[in-house]
Symmetry: C2
Subunit: 117 residues, 2 copies
DNA sequence: GTAAGTGTGTAGTGTTTAGGAAACATGACG
DNA sequence: CGTCATGTTTCCTAAACACTACACACTTAC
């Protein structure tokens, strides 16, 4: 489960190549964790960080928080809250869509966004 | 946050009224926890139990596991897995549906179930 | 060549999660 | 009365989570 670490490391290094403000230490400083901790995270030596830290890291590296959370084995708590408010409804919907192809889900997203209810 | 406890207590007592196999002790025994623990759960003296125990409890009391998990502040891990596999897609969908009325979501569920993709 | 900056290794910490064990009090039954 | 069965109380804990502190080695910049 070190998908998370390599992903972060790759993203950071690619930024670092053009901007020396993206050293491990500086990024760690900006997202508010110790450098040693971020180092271990990047090398998968510890579990992915908390949701809050993951989101700060994603923003800092200009990555999608939901994707990074997913790599860390988590689901954003605001999504969870939506589900918890109407559990039967959303549980059914999500299970129904488990095996639906991307384009089918996307079609629904668009349908909903064009709000025809 | 003792919604969970009162809900469980009410459900159990209503079963117990007609069937003495639904005493706290017997239910605890069948779902594999100590009576003292279930007692504390029902009175909100401790946090809601783990996902696994919550699901066993729901099945035992013939309640919807997703609803009980929601009352316990949790979201079923199989739903989380669906989201984690395609985080961007599902995050967008769920946020889009956050404020949609029930019937709109239900319409989509039916649409998907009648699988027209 | 030294000061600054880079990443890493080791050790330890406080908090939360998810309960178990055992004794206790109360009431019903025969 | 004794003995079940009921729910409750107190105390304890093992493991996981989310980090910090700090010293170390190496490179680079001036």
């Amino acid at each position: 489960m070190t998908q998370f670490g390599t992903y972060v490391n790759t993203a950071r290094r690619s930024l670092q190549a053009h901007d020396r403000r993206y050293s491990l230490r500086q990024v760690a400083g900006r997202i508010g964790v110790e450098p040693g901790y971020l180092s271990k995270i990047e090398r998968g030596q510890v579990a992915p960080p908390s949701e809050a830290a993951t989101v700060r890291l994603a923003r800092e590296l200009d990555e999608d928080p939901d994707v990074l959370l997913a790599l860390g084995g988590k689901v954003s708590s605001d999504l969870q809250e939506v589900i918890r408010k109407r559990p039967r409804l959303f549980a059914q919907l999500i299970r129904e869509l488990r095996d639906a192809p991307d384009h089918a889900v996307l079609r629904i997203v668009r349908e909903v966004r064009d709000g025809d209810w």
